[in-house]
Subunit: 122 residues, 2 copies
Amino acid sequence: MKFKKRKNLTPEAIDNTTEACAYEGVKYYPVFTSRRDGATNFSMRLFEIAPGKSTAKHKHSYEHEVYILSGDGFLLLDDKKIKIGKDDCFLIEPYEFHQLIGGENKISFICIVPNREKIQPD
Amino acid sequence: MKFKKRKNLTPEAIDNTTEACAYEGVKYYPVFTSRRDGATNFSMRLFEIAPGKSTAKHKHSYEHEVYILSGDGFLLLDDKKIKIGKDDCFLIEPYEFHQLIGGENKISFICIVPNREKIQPD
């Protein structure tokens, strides 16, 4: 068993360039990953996006499952801009273009992805 | 993309008997599952446990990744009883005996599991 408290997590540079989240105003916290924690199938990450900042608009071969913990912002999905806030959840499917954008209050969310060895890019 | 709001989720009976969570005082909400939402690799579920109630003590061949959204309670892991609350996260590894127990305030958490077709029991 691995046990962590959010307050003790430390932000890191994201090292998966396909994620394209290493931008000013975006904090990435690995919670459980295959490499460090021995997670078998999927990894949990926590992100915080400052007001008005955003991830890159990007797509990839694997899905995201996201749960918004606090704050507000927008999900840009293809050409749709969807307002998001606390307790919203979404599944972004493989190859969907997406971008997370901070709103008026810092938005934080967890985002689960399959582990790298499970990812089968085209 | 699938988008859901927590307030619109409805509790369901859990139909995976290995999970053993269908107990009085334990509410199970599927958020994203392979069968209904086309989630490729893993499923997100939300649980609420009333004060003093608990899941069964159980184990299984696959991992859990858990994020506590609110409330407080205990994680029983083998013979250890660990106090848990908002913003605690844990990875329960395959075949670890575990039980979630409600504390003074209703505890709610998300729990991610691999999809059934990814599970390879002994």
